[in-house]
């Protein structure tokens, strides 16, 4: 076997495994759907499917945000707090200034981006472990929301009417929220795949050291990933606020775990550099389906947390084992020609 051929097969193995991973996620969705459909006839009801899609929509955006950060070999556990902060401040502003109009979407995104930039500065430029840094900012952001709120909720009748009706809007009978979410996720996927800066995110995550020597501005790329994650979380926070109607200070707490679970189940590697935002969005769909199925089967709510946690461990285990398989096959191929 010549070196050239060896290289060809090597690329083939990696690509094949990655495709298998996304196929695996899709297959799992089908399997999950089949099981729930057998157990509960209501599961495949179009109305129920629309509910699942709407529930998955916002989580899919946050999971995509988490995925962008994970791709750079970092982590953001402050996503839920950013959502809560941006949602509360924006909702409060909208409640006070009814004429503000659609501009408040921009406000939510700016607030989210600012918090994301703070995360990025701490992680990228002060070289603080991403878990510790965002664990700190998670409590800072949530605490800041508490302090700002003074124990007051923004109720749904204070919010502008268009905000609440926008999430229930339908386009030719289909709910608009999942379509919007799909559009956002596809745009991020295109950006990551087609743009040089998007490729840099993968490069930094798969081998930061090589990226430095290659001349990539690793710190800047990391900062961008956090800022972008913040922007998406701000947007998702506002969507979530509009969806639930009453904005409390604890809005979206616990989403750090869900978003991470969705991204990891969808095949985004916590070791960075591998995975797609579309996979992360599919992971969100899986979580939403499980939630919905458990409710239909009237399983106690506690199981949700247990299943999410177990799913993270299982998905990470599967990814690690696949990775080990790929490496093993590469080594045998690389040395195969020599030995033969």
């Amino acid at each position: 076997m010549s070196a050239f051929e060896g290289k060809q097969t090597r690329v083939g193995v990696g690509e094949f495994a990655l495709r298998m991973r996304v196929t695996g996620v899709l297959a799992f969705i089908v399997l999950l759907g089949a099981v729930f459909a057998m157990l509960s006839p209501r599961f495949l009801n179009p109305q129920n499917l629309a509910i699942i899609a709407s529930n998955a929509a916002i989580l899919a955006i946050v999971a995509a945000a988490q995925a962008v950060v994970l791709l750079t070999r970092n982590l953001d556990v402050s996503v839920g707090s950013i959502m809560g902060f941006a949602a509360y401040l924006t909702a409060d502003y909208a409640a006070r200034h009814h004429g503000a109009g659609v501009a408040i979407i921009g406000l939510a995104m700016v607030l989210g981006t600012l918090l994301g930039v703070v995360n990025g500065l701490i992680v990228a430029y002060a070289a603080v472990s991403p878990l510790i840094a965002t664990l700190g900012t998670m409590s800072l952001y949530r605490g800041a929301t508490y302090l700002y709120a003074h124990g007051r909720d923004v109720t749904s009748n204070e919010l502008p009417h268009w905000m609440l009706s926008a999430v229930d809007f339908r386009i030719v009978g289909l709910p608009a929220l999942p379509l919007l979410s799909a559009l956002v996720v596809v745009l991020i996927a295109l950006f990551l795949r087609r743009f040089a800066f998007g490729r840099q995110i993968y490069a930094v995550g798969s081998n930061p050291e090589a990226a430095v020597y290659y001349g990539l501005r690793v710190k800047r790329v990391t900062l961008f990933a956090y800022a972008f994650s913040g922007l998406l979380c701000g947007f998702a926070g506002l969507l979530y606020a509009a969806r639930v109607g009453t904005v409390t200070v604890v809005l979206a707490s616990g989403w750090e775990l869900s978003s991470l679970a969705a991204a990891v189940i969808g095949g985004v590697s916590v070791a960075g550099g591998s995975g797609t935002v579309i996979g992360a969005a599919l992971g969100a769909l899986i979580l939403a389906s499980i939630d919905n199925g458990l409710v239909l089967l009237s399983v106690q709510e506690f199981w949700r947390m247990f299943i999410q946690g177990t799913a993270i461990v299982a998905a990470v285990a599967v990814d690690t084992l696949i990775g080990a398989q790929i490496r093993a096959s590469l080594v045998s191929r690389r040395f195969g020609g020599v030995r033969a």
Binding site: V128, L140, R142, Q300
Partner: protein, 350 residues
Amino acid sequence: MSARAIWRPTAWEAMLVVLIFAAAAWSATLSPYYLQIDQLLYSTRNFVIPGLLAFGLMVVVTTGEIDISVASTLAVASVALSKFAAVGAPIAVAALLAVALAATLGALNGFFVARLGLPSLAVTLGTMGAYRGLAFIIGGGMGYTSFNDPYLYVGTELWFGVVPASLILFAVVAAGVGFLMHKTTFGRRCFAVGMNKTAAWISGVNVDRLKITAYALAGVLAGVAGLVWIGQYGSARGDNADGMILFVVTAVVLGGVDINGGRGTVLGVVLALLLLGTLRNGMGLANIAGPTQTVVFGALLLIGVLRPFVAGLAQRWRTPPSDPFSRRDDTEQTSESNSITNNITRRSAL
């Protein structure tokens, strides 16, 4: 190093002592009752439970891994104790079984991390959720509050009328972990593995077994903390110690334990716990609300992790250019790129 680490505090540990006295002085201005001995001793309940968790986490962190599931393990242990209490099991049996359960959960983390080679952060994030769910599944949604006195002993008893039994337990555990980490082969190996896993493995350390032991120890201490919990709060529920992980991680980081492994002292963690406990007590006296306290602890955590960075900046700023004729550009560049790659490799360890 070990003897010095215990008896001769580092500059940062001396700083922590100063901060503790400052926090105590501030507290004393808030309330005339602050300096009464029973108040001081009673206020230790502010840090005993997170302290036990912090010692376990510290051992795991020195080996270069992390465990953020300890608070959830505490919840499982406390709920398990409530189940044993409900069937009237004697406390000694119940406590043993609960601690054994917690140790198993810890060892399970260790198994995933060491044997399967999974990243500890993702694993323990997952088990943080899974164990929390498990606690709810075992205990149901309602809390259990009808513990009999033997179950509450560790968390409520005051020796000689003033010294909480939990404080004695805390001191014993602190001394035990201090001995383990700074005086035994096990501790030395923990630091060695955290510094350089490969080098430790080559020199004959069974890295997998060591890590599993470290995780199991964190589980044991979480189980013991669960026992103290039901004494202090008299209740066991699935959401026990929810959110406590911030306080625990803050204590470990503020105590000067290197989050990337290989460095740290038990003394530092004890001092950080005293500081955090004093602050929490003081903020309680000053009627500062829970959310503000969370902000303060979050800020302290960030200060703790940013400390080496700020120190580095200050040093770079202070150091005058030594020799104008040396090729400073070259040397600076190499040191810069080295520090970048160092940072990256160290970060990726987490």
